[in-house]
């Protein structure tokens, strides 16, 4: 508990920095979002002063000094008021994001945990049989696999398993013939639609975990306590899993928080390819439609989620490794 409390200020400062970055970024760039929207409308005819005012209010462009703008921005965030979406007018941004968030959380959460566990276990196996054919196939294969762009893997899977073989649906989060709700037909449809995106994230992420775990294991396998356990005649599986892997997994656990940002990024691209109704596809649409309020809020939501997840991983790490608690 004391450890958690001590980590809290770091989290708060990081959160503040991320929120401020989100404020500064659009203001550092030439032109305001409202100008972009006005430019679009100006192409169709002259813009009156009242129209300009309406657009500026709609896009959340406050007037006044930078400091008062910042204050208004912080106040709006505290109230959960991210303005009105431009694409999904007149839906508020918070509602649009709220609808997309569960999809991404379920998809990315499940597939990342799966990728971590399978990758780590395979990494232990590869390190245990180092130099064997399995090891070289796994390391070279994984190097190649992690080099595949997420979206490309997604496209190939979509083509092979979705289009040619027709095993899985190609687009969307659920079939258009079912309506969202808590019933079995909807759940089954959603599950079927999530297989390909989840599989993409799984195989794109697996390699990194395997390679990382293998490297950690190589370090640990040289330690005296492992040799001692082996000399005691303990079964190989016990030595590998209970002596070596338990210690080797620690660096991977810290990497987990860091890799989360990458997984989130990769899953964004995956969602775009599959038209999956999550945060990533929403961000893509916001960018394409120049929906700045939605884009800004999405970036904030994504960053804050990753920061919070990192914080949780940090706490778990303190639980796993008592040495860092001091």
């Amino acid at each position: 508990m004391r450890y958690a409390l001590r980590r809290l200020p770091v989290l708060v400062v990081t959160l503040w920095a991320a929120i401020t970055l989100n404020f500064v970024l659009p203001r550092m760039m030439p032109g305001t979002p409202a100008d972009a929207a006005l430019g679009k409308i100006a192409g169709q005819g002259p813009v009156t002063a009242s129209q300009r005012r309406a657009i500026e209010v709609m896009l959340g462009v406050p007037h006044g000094s930078l400091l008062s703008q910042y204050w208004q921005y912080l106040k709006a965030i505290a109230e959960g008021n991210f303005g009105i979406s431009y694409t999904y007018f007149p839906e508020p941004v918070s509602k649009v994001i709220g609808a997309a968030l569960p999809w991404t959380l379920a998809l990315v959460g499940t597939s990342t945990v799966l990728a971590f566990t399978t990758g780590a276990l395979l990494g232990v196996l590869a390190a245990w049989r180092r130099g064997s054919r399995l090891d070289s196939v796994a390391t070279v294969g994984c190097t190649f696999m992690t080099a595949f762009p997420y979206f490309w893997t997604a496209l190939l899977l979509l083509y092979a398993l979705g289009f040619v073989l027709g095993w899985f649906p190609i687009r969307g989060g659920y079939s258009s013939s079912v309506s969202p709700g808590w019933d079995w037909t909807f759940a089954a449809s959603a599950l079927r639609h999530s297989v390909l995106p989840a599989f993409t994230i799984l195989i794109s992420g697996l390699g990194g975990w395997l390679l990382g775990m293998r490297n950690n294991m190589m370090g640990v396998l040289g330690e005296d306590y492992v040799t001692f356990a082996e000399a005691n005649g303990l079964p190989a599986r016990t030595v590998a899993l209970r002596y070596a892997a338990r210690n080797a997994v620690l660096p991977s656990a810290t990497a987990f928080g860091m890799a989360l940002g990458m997984v989130v990024g990769g899953s964004l691209l995956t969602e775009v390819v599959f038209g999956y109704p999550g945060i990533g596809y929403l961000l893509y649409n916001a960018v394409v439609n120049e929906d700045y309020p939605l884009m800004q809020a999405l970036f904030l939501v994504i960053t804050v989620s990753v920061l919070l997840a990192n914080f949780v991983v940090d706490l778990l790490y303190g639980f796993l490794d008592p040495r860092v608690r001091r």
Binding site: P149, G261, M262
Partner: protein, 283 residues
Amino acid sequence: MWRTGRKLVGTLWADRKARAGASILALFVLVAVLAPVLSPYSPTATSFARSAPASWSHPLGTTGSGQDALSQLLFGTRVSLLVGFGAGLAATSLAMLVGVVAGYVRGPLEVVLGFLTNLFLVIPGVPLMIVLAAYLPSRGVGTVLVVVSVTGWAWGARVLRAQTTTLASREFVAAARMAGEGTWRIVWHEIVPNMVSLLAASFFAASTAAVLAEAALEFLGLGNPATISWGTMLFWAENSNALLTGQWALLVAPGLCIALLASAMSLVNFGIDAIGNPKLRER
């Protein structure tokens, strides 16, 4: 420094994986340089039949606007290598600057730089890249290069900072300091030469990330769609539904090239890791 460099290359070449990676990399550089000679047609010529399947005159078929896909693939190597190496160099320089200063200097600057590094480390790169690209008014290879460099330096900075901190407490640095050497000289002549393998590793790691990031940005249509690159090839292939019309070569070929280039860079990094950590060396 020259002799350590040669020794490093020797160790690198002895590693089978690094050798394979370096050979593939050299091949790509050769293709990029010789693209005008190797390409059967101009990559921008739109005079051919549209969306033609693979044939002897167009081994990869033609694009939806009637360009020869093979010529585009060969010329596309240039953009990927340029952005990969360019952003790799920019990100590593930034990482070196921030990392070495944060590792060597004491006081508020160290705290601020360390915090900045950690912040950029946890902010997810792809969303930041997308948002940055969306805000920037001009779209082209230069923009992509800047965006990818800005989002890709943090990991290297962290590693280099840790190494600088340990090096700064070594005897030879203390000796140099007592001999009255200036900070600048100590950093350049005592510390940086001892980080060559780390610098090389973060360069290749940043380049790999840059190649993938560039492809992703252009695939999303956030680059300039008129550039000839692997990412824009994928963008146009997806836009003209190349897979559904059976022109899978338009998607497979650029994607495979990206994967091959990125894995060649990570293979080289395996050898560099082995220099730093002899346990990983192949026997």
